[in-house]
């Protein structure tokens, strides 16, 4: 892959991945770590602490009484949900407007949360097991767009001509005009941030899981969840429906049409419960779309 030098420079200039999230990811994945250790790490980051309390008190976690400190929040949310909340609280800061895609920061973030929640709905349908990688990969799948946006904007007419007149998918037009697509660029960002390989791949191949040789289901779940959120119009821009279905995801998962419809109905409820997660990035974007 030959990435345009200016684009490379932009991703290298991104702020480093928050240390707090790195530590929490490591601790949350280690069954021997204590909740006290986890709380101590989180407390060091004021912004994340504030957001954790807000998220913990949201309807999504269904607490009877509000909590006012990180220790209680962790006890109530449980290890799995702490990771989720820390990711949301810490990563939302990277979501800024992606101008070239005609999408505002709040919308891009709403879409990220929707795909993360849909990934879990999909995983629950498949096996019932909850894989913490799914939330991370779901939230970050479009991180590349936050950098690509300005380059897409510069090349807008060329990209639009390919999509409108030559039946290119948006992804293919990005590759042809800019030498890289937003998914691959997201993968590069994940590499710089030293993410585990399977999350990196789920980000980099979220539109093309068919190009991956191994049988890991995470990229396919993120792919399917993203396609459905695009169809529903949740926080998407002008590129929303200009993407291609690839491979046989229905056959792979043994899904029928009705399973897809059921996932959509479930997401509607999940998004209402996750309003606090969504509103971390402020501004317009919470309006129902579909």
């Amino acid at each position: 892959m030959k990435i345009n030098k200016r684009i490379l420079k932009s991703i290298r200039a991104l702020p480093p991945f928050p240390v707090t999230i790195q530590k929490v990811m490591a601790l949350a994945g280690d069954p021997d770590s204590s909740l006290t250790e986890l709380a101590a790490v989180i407390r060091l980051d004021q912004a994340i602490t504030a957001n954790i309390l807000r998220i913990c008190n949201s309807a999504y976690f269904g607490l009877r009484r509000p909590v006012d400190n990180v220790g209680d929040a962790i006890l109530h949310m449980g290890r799995k949900n702490v990771l989720r909340a820390v990711m949301a609280a810490g990563l939302s800061r990277y979501f800024r407007t992606a101008r070239g895609y005609d999408v505002r920061a709040a919308e891009l973030w709403e879409h990220a949360v929707a795909v993360a929640l849909m990934s879990q709905i999909c995983a629950a349908k498949l096996s019932g097991a909850d894989d913490p990688r799914l939330f991370t990969a779901g939230v970050l799948h479009d991180i590349g767009k936050t950098v690509m946006g300005e380059f897409v904007l510069e090349a807008w007419q060329k990209i639009q001509d390919l999509v409108e007149k030559q039946k290119y998918a948006f992804l293919e037009a990005e590759e042809e005009v800019l030498g890289v697509n937003h998914a691959e660029l997201g993968g590069e960002i994940a590499r710089i941030w030293k993410f585990p390989d399977e999350i990196l791949k789920a980000i980099a191949f979220h539109h093309r899981p068919d190009l991956l040789a191994n049988g890991d289901t995470v990229p396919w779940i993120v792919y399917l969840s993203n396609q459905v959120c695009h169809l529903m119009g949740i926080g998407v821009g002008t590129d929303a429906l200009a993407y291609r279905a690839v491979g046989d995801v229905a056959g792979r998962f043994g899904f029928r049409q009705r399973d897809l419809e059921d996932m959509m109905a479930r997401l509607h409820r999940s998004m209402q419960e996750a309003r606090e997660l969504v509103s971390i990035v402020s501004g317009h974007g919470g309006n129902g779309k579909g």
């Binding site: 005609d102 529903m232 002008t238 429906l241 200009a242 009705r258 959509m264 109905a265």
Partner: protein, 160 residues
């Protein structure tokens, strides 16, 4: 004047000519706009799925989610404000798809079919529509005039 935003799986009706209604970025979902010019009563539904037998509980809680519960509720809510079925103008937009040769993601097509079937069996004619293809749409209904405007992704707002 108030611009009423109709969210996903939601519907609104009004007889205030100072109002307008809007629903944003329709993908596979469909917006149904109805208007009775004689009494200036209008309504807008943004349904997501074709068939409420999928989940009876959700259909009760959120009737606007499904074509077969949302559309009847939209009409009945307008009747309550004095609208008459014979005079009602019906305009629809949405039901789009992604580029999909496998047809697994054909939810937009299913929504269009379900809506047409329902209108046909209830003797309702669609006066104007902009459905299918692979573009997002925004639909707006002006309650003073009954005019409906549709904007396709990246394009201008145009009267339907």
């Amino acid at each position: 004047m108030a611009e009423l935003v109709v969210g996903i799986s939601d519907l609104k009706v009004s007889n205030n000519p100072a109002d307008s209604m809007v629903t944003y970025a329709l993908g596979s979902c469909i917006a149904v706009a109805v208007y009775d010019p004689a009494v200036k009563v209008g309504g807008l539904l943004h349904f997501m799925l074709p068939d409420s037998t999928l989940d009876a509980e959700k259909a009760r809680e959120t009737p606007g989610m499904f074509a077969d519960t949302g559309i009847p509720l939209l009409f009945k809510s307008c009747y309550k404000m004095g609208a008459d079925k014979k005079r009602m103008v019906v305009k629809v937009a949405g039901g789009a798809s992604i580029l999909d040769e496998s047809n697994f993601f054909r939810i937009g097509q299913k929504n269009i079919m379900a809506m047409r079937k329902l209108f046909w069996s209830n003797n309702v004619l669609i006066d104007a529509e902009d459905t299918g293809r692979n573009c997002n749409r925004t639909l707006k209904l002006d309650l003073a005039t009954g005019k409906v405007f549709v904007k396709r992704s990246g394009g201008p707002m145009e009267e339907l």
